[in-house]
Subunit: 132 residues, 4 copies
């Protein structure tokens, strides 16, 4: 709710009801926290070795989602901003992280949840790209 | 909901029902986005000059909340982590940003919303400090 | 020097003498700090209004460079990481920020320095893309 | 060199020759990259288990140094900013990370380099706190 309220209060008054934008920002917020948590859960597991790639991709995805939600939140001079390329990087990061976490989803609930969130975030970024 | 699910799925199984921790992470997520949006809204206003300090403090608060939610999310070796000092910095950043945005709350809805979020986040960080 | 030393100490031992990678990470470090400083310098100027777009693009570029240096620094499972798409976003962010800061370079030294750093960082990212 | 140039170009003209501030920002830049690299090197080692805590503390330290360099870089309204509390958190994060990496310094060069950088950054933050 707070994302919608903040966008509606922006002086450009252009995005308060942009549900595609709002959903993208909300999923990036959820995904940056989820990936941070999944990487930390993996290093606390007994058998870390097979999860090394998922740890690395979760850390990447957490960073990319964090940057994406900031660039997407800014509405000032929006048509001149690097939004499309950042969203493309976020789609890429979410897809790679989701695919890798999927390989561990049967063994660890945190990987199952992280894969699901990466899929949602990837889809939300794709929808925003399509609406630009 | 996703914060709670991820913490519950952590192998340490120690924080899935820690409502004080969950609330702190959720408020830091909301606050980092809100402050990013408030700073961007301010630079889009006609009369920027009186808002310069609020822009700066919003940018600081967005950075500190971002770091805080990451440090608070990590449960591995938690008793050895710099959680208390990071939470103290977050209380400080939220208080200063909230106080400054309060001065503009009557003129701009984004400042009113940002002040309210900073107060909630400050309170959530204080509660987590008290529970450590 | 520290970037080179750290990459050389990585167990994959694959990138200690990768001058293109080292330069990209070093320029992203310089650029994230320079853009943070340029945005802050702009809000302290008397005539902020014409610089609003440069402030926004500097904040975007600071975020993108920060994420890029992290993704580029990680060597584990590197061939599976979203490095190329993140570098493309960084080229885009640096180009847009550099072009906008160039418009103010005659009036403010911080814009001149920021444009120059954005150009160097864009070039370093392009060189790394070409070497992948 | 670029940190000094940017601070000197700030309209407040107050910190261009503040060597204590410049050194703090430079060490935070080096430390955020070094800790990101050390965490990634650790997950690529054969025997990850004993390094789990160092991975977690390196990730925390990388986040805290990143926020610290941004807050320290901003000179606008500096006396009202949460600089001291952020520096205290950075001292804490660097000390904990340095102490943990020290335990592995004999076995891995990346831990030795990371410990040394954490010590330098901690000292630079302490010096800036003392100068406030």
């Amino acid at each position: 709710m707070s994302v919608q309220e903040m966008l509606a209060a922006h002086p450009t008054a252009a995005a308060g009801d942009d549900q595609v934008l709002i959903r993208c920002i909300e999923e990036c917020l959820a995904c940056t926290q989820t990936c941070t948590s999944c990487a930390d859960s993996s290093i606390a597991e007994d058998d870390i070795a097979p999860m090394v790639l998922s740890i690395r991709l979760c850390l990447d995805c957490a960073n990319v989602c964090d940057t994406t939600l900031r660039v997407a939140t800014r509405l000032t001079g929006r048509q001149s901003a690097p939004l499309a390329s950042v969203l493309e990087a976020c789609v890429d990061a979410c897809r790679r992280c989701g695919d890798e976490c999927a390989k561990h989803a049967q063994h660890h609930e945190h990987h199952r949840l992280c894969e699901a969130e990466c899929r949602r975030c990837e889809e939300a970024c794709r929808a925003l790209i399509a609406s630009l």
